[in-house]
Symmetry: C2
Subunit: 254 residues, 2 copies
DNA sequence: AAGTGGTCTAGACCACCAA
DNA sequence: TGGTGGTCTAGACCACTTG
């Protein structure tokens, strides 16, 4: 039975046709098979060994092609199980104009949000923190690092730094950082965010349930009091495949 | 002369110490050497063959470790030249509250901005375009795809779709899409943007001078007229390593 | 227990770059 | 021209999942 996999991997004299590296030709064949509908969401591919035989290349070459597609989010591999076409992931949308906390935000959506502590304590500030928070030598910072989880899917890593002058005791923070700051009368009213994209490092990717090199949104936020004084400096990493920031723009005079 | 490379790659019984995959142990050694200052920005590493000999592993294993770090932006490789520690890239900042065009924006910064046409013409709309632009069957769209370049560095790929009812002739667009829309009285005043992160596909990465799998910012924008009617639907991909979006947030009642 | 992906090796040839 | 990274092979063993 000449099945679809033979057409995909062995069709037209194998990969002899065409030029360029074998793993790229192989990669293109798989992408074409998906866009042509020969392979659908969740479908299993043959094993790497079988693909190698069908396409008449080494398994190393098959792996190179497959890993590229895994890295691009086209395929997923499960150890001991097989290689499959990715299913799209449901995305969370986050409006970009209002200052909200993760907890508030997720519960408003009806998601079950929780956090996992990564670190919570008092430290000597890094140079980066000194600049961002405007600290003097000898000052100390509270660091609150959390893994944010919504409906059992890790969504983000959040690393917050606050001067001990604003938040003397990190143990006072249970679920909401802003609520704890409120207690001391230091709730921020304004913030500046910088958003960029980055390839996740192995450690961070692991926390988010992704692979090293997967795309993440990196967000740096500096929050201000009404008086203009800096309260909080937070660096976050969001899953690129599950998070959308939404912003409304208007045409400005300036 | 027992140089620093021996300490990095061959120190303490090679990689025999420790557990886990060899390429991860090797990767960690390089990362540690950089964070310890043993390797600085722009420094050259030994050749892959030399590292393999120093660490007593195969070259394939060295490549796996090095490629991981290249993918994370820690190292850069130049074919025929060598492997080097990355130098940080200058970043461009884009405010996220004002609706501006790329050309206007870059010239205000004193950058020399130009575009390269990727595609410009009239097409039958894709299902995605029909939904976004609110088209009826039989309607047509103008597609304007450009590679945005600032000071000879490719910064973004921009794919804009506009109903032919708003912009009958794509050839009317020379540098600024908004200027062309203005001529017909259809300049947008408001827009909604969705921002997320993605691993760039090989083709897009090539246009941006990056490697497949590198992180990019994906932005979808829908622009509206004063009347609320949709004008433009644009999907952009920005270099993750060279672009920052900046947003100001305020605490809201709602 | 059989099959899958994950890691690793030794060796080869090619394409590119710099001296 | 010699050294570099880029691609490719055939074969091996391990770790994990599933029937």
């Amino acid at each position: 039975m000449p099945d679809r996999f033979e057409r995909i991997f062995a069709g037209e004299n194998g990969l002899a046709a065409g030029s360029g590296p074998l793993y790229i030709r192989l990669r293109n064949r798989v992408e074409r098979a998906i866009s042509d509908g020969l392979l659908g969401d969740g479908d299993a591919l043959p094993s790497e060994r079988d693909i190698a035989e069908l396409a008449d290349v080494s398994r190393v070459t098959v792996r190179k092609a497959v890993q590229d597609l895994v890295r691009d989010g086209v395929l997923v591999q499960r150890h001991g199980s097989g290689t499959f076409v990715s299913k799209p992931v449901a995305r969370v949308e986050q409006p970009l104009s209002r200052l909200t906390s993760f907890t508030e935000d997720m519960s408003r959506r009806g998601w079950n949000a929780r956090s996992q502590w990564l670190q919570r304590g008092i430290f000597a500030p890094s140079p980066e923190e000194m600049v961002a928070l405007g600290l003097a030598p000898g000052d100390e910072v509270v660091r609150i690092d959390r893994l944010r989880i919504a409906d059992e899917m890790p969504l983000a890593i959040e690393r917050a730094s606050i001067s001990t002058q604003m938040l003397p005791d990190p143990q006072k923070v249970d679920t909401s950082l802003y609520a704890a700051l409120d207690v001391y009368g230091f709730r921020p009213v304004r913030a500046l965010q910088r958003i960029s994209a980055t390839n996740l490092r192995a450690e961070d990717a692991g926390l988010l349930g992704l692979e090293a090199g997967d795309a993440g949104l990196r967000i740096e936020r500096i929050s201000y009091l009404e008086s203009g004084r800096v309260v909080e400096f937070t660096r976050s990493l969001y899953r690129g495949d599950a998070y959308d920031f939404v912003a409304e723009l208007t045409i400005g005079k300036n």
